[in-house]
């Protein structure tokens, strides 16, 4: 099993979710995050003072998948999330020891 984390542009969430469910991913967890990177922030004004907002809204997707699903899932995310413009985000893949479904106590790939 692997854990995939993807930081994407917020408005891409629906497309990515659909791409993942299309290949059979059944669950995922989503977090509102702020990203700092090559994409520069924007300037705002407040009562005459400018300030730069450097952290841009992004969505972080987390999903644990069976080993066999890892490559297709990454593939699906990459395809659905790409706009080609700076700030598209990253996908991280990392190891995981175990996963348990709270409702049933199933573990491992059964629990994904």
């Amino acid at each position: 099993m692997k854990k995939i984390e993807a930081v994407i542009k917020p408005f891409k969430l629906d497309e990515v979710k659909e791409a993942l469910t299309a290949i059979g991913v059944l669950g995922m967890t989503v977090t509102e995050v702020k990203g700092f990177g090559r994409q520069k922030g924007h300037t705002e004004i407040y009562r005459g003072s400018e300030y730069t907002v450097e952290f841009l809204p992004k969505i972080k997707l987390e999903l644990v998948v069976a080993d066999s699903m890892t490559a297709p899932a990454v593939e699906a995310i990459l395809k659905a999330a790409k706009t080609g413009k700076i700030g598209d985000g990253k996908v991280f893949v990392m190891p995981i020891d175990n996963i348990i479904r709270i409702r049933t106590d199933e573990t491992g790939e059964q629990a994904v």
Binding site: F11, E32, H42, T43, E44, I45, E50, T52, I59
Partner: protein
């Protein structure tokens, strides 16, 4: 751009540019102000500063009779306080509309609602008032059209009146009281547009359109009906403006929505509607309460005088009853059609009832006002569904509220007006005949044709020149940052969708 400027706002060059602009702007006013004769000869001001109250001599006529002065004072108080309530509707529109839009466009909508009344105030003062109430042809006022500078001896009424704004000489209040009350109505018409074109229109273009609407379009159709124009001659009635204000603003909005197109992503390829829920139902609900309160100035204040109190009281009750009937029927309709009593529909039902009763409020019985409100509440729900089916994207329901029910209210007068309530006019229910209804229909169509066509042209010209729609990226990111550099709720974490 940001990095270049930084905190160096005030380069010498910009400062100069600014000062020149302002100077240029001021010179003419200074001139005007200097040579302007005070419009009301009797203008007085109790000097608060010390005991020697410095009151200019009151004009002979009214002062002769203390009861007459009392009456003028009382009517003026009524008109001004009702005018203040109508002014307050600006806050209501700002709340309703911003509450029904997405959080990322909040500052933009608030700014639009705020600035549009400023534009309306100035353009109605400089030109709109005169076109609407100045003596002239059946089509438009031609005398005293700039800055209320025509001859006028208000508060004299009827035959005693000498001046160029004779179509509004039936109310015995000072000219500035008449002006203020009419001004806040003009502001309302302009505000209606703002909600329908929200979440995608350029701020500057909207400001320009509002200016044109209040300076020219609103006064012209207003002249037809309230300024002694051809519809007034024909016997068309509209007590407080279902058509003069609401359907008029609705047609201008409809033209805007069509030229502008729907928000990106609203109508999906599969024929479904993807709603963008408003970011704060609390804000919207407060807004509707504000508007409802304001309507107690809008409708009863349109008596523009206290009289023996009975007309005011009657209008208070019919206005309230139509509103609550609209609430109840919109709630039931939503419950039946959509399965649940959706709050946003209940709110629209209330506004629908209020818009519909605006024309007939002084001419129909309380029983009739209930019927008018009940139908308005059903109509607004069906209308929202209809416009969505037509892919006409109106984020706040302005078309369903103001256009559909402005028309309905104007026609309802032709159905339910009863000379036992006000001698002026009777409708189908009393006479059994369709003549008044036909007159009302003609009025509706005349205003519709003029307003829709001119609006369409103005929107089109704006689109072809400076553009009316923000870029797709800006629409995506929100107009707050794009148009104003503002964030409405910087301390809250926002759902990114």
């Amino acid at each position: 751009m940001p990095d270049k400027r930084d905190t160096q706002y005030l380069t010498m060059k910009k400062l100069k540019l600014l000062l020149c602009t302002i100077a240029l702007g001021l010179v003419p006013w200074l001139g005007m102000a200097a040579d302007a004769p005070p419009p009301a000869v009797a203008e007085t001001a109790a000097a608060v500063t010390n005991a020697v109250a410095a009151v200019a001599e009151a004009p002979a006529a009214p002062a002769a009779d203390p009861a007459a002065t009392l009456k003028i004072g009382m009517d003026t108080m009524w008109v001004l306080l009702c005018g203040a309530l109508v002014f307050w509707m600006n806050a209501g529109f700002a709340c309703v509309e911003s509450g029904m839009c997405q959080q990322k466009n909040t500052a933009n909508i608030l700014a639009k609602n705020f600035v549009v009344f400023a534009c309306a105030s100035l353009s109605y003062y400089f030109i709109g008032w005169g076109l609407m109430f100045g003596d002239g042809s059946d089509w438009v006022g031609t005398e005293g059209i700039f800055m209320l500078k025509g001859e006028d001896n208000s508060p004299a009424t009827g035959d005693a009146y000498k001046g160029v704004y004779s179509s509004i000489n039936w109310t015995g209040v000072p000219l500035y009281a008449k002006f203020f009350f009419q001004l806040v109505f003009a502001g309302t018409a302009a505000t209606i547009v703002s909600g329908a074109v929200a979440e995608r229109i350029k701020f500057g273009s909207f400001v320009l359109f509002s200016f044109v609407l209040v300076a020219f379009m609103y006064p012209v159709t207003g002249h037809w009906i309230w300024g002694g124009g051809f519809l007034a001659d024909m016997g068309f009635y509209d007590f407080a403006g279902s058509t003069v204000v609401h359907s008029m603003g609705g047609w201008a909005a409809l033209a805007g929505v069509i030229v502008l197109g729907p928000r990106a992503g609203k109508y999906l390829a599969n024929g479904k509607v993807h709603p963008f829920p408003g970011h704060s139902l609390a804000l919207s609900t407060i807004g509707v309460f504000i508007l409802w309160l304001g309507w107690f100035g809008f409708n009863p204040g349109s008596t523009m005088g206290v009289g023996d109190g009975s007309a005011m009281a009657h209008v208070f009750v019919t206005t309230n009853t139509a509103a609550v009937a609209g609430i109840i029927s919109a709630m039931i309709t939503a419950w039946l059609l959509l399965g649940k009593p959706d709050l946003s529909m209940i709110l629209n039902g209330c506004l629908a009832g209020l818009v519909a009763i605006t024309a007939p409020c002084a001419f129909v019985s309380v029983g009739a006002s209930i019927v008018i409100g009940l139908i308005a509440g059903v109509l607004v729900v069906l209308s929202v569904l209809f416009f969505d089916k037509m892919k006409i994207d109106d984020p706040v329901g302005a078309l369903s509220v103001h256009l559909a029910n402005g028309v309905w209210g104007t026609l309802a007068l032709g159905l339910f007006a009863d000379a036992k309530i006000s001698k002026a006019v009777s409708g189908f229910e009393v006479t059994g005949g369709m003549s008044q209804l036909m007159i009302q229909l003609k009025g509706v169509l005349a205003v519709a044709a003029f307003t829709f066509i001119i609006s369409f042209i103005v929107w089109y010209v704006l689109k072809a020149t400076i553009g009316i729609r923000v870029t797709a990226e800006e629409e995506q990111e929100g107009l707050d940052i794009g148009e104003h550099g503002n964030e409405a709720y910087p301390d809250f974490v926002i759902n990114n969708k």
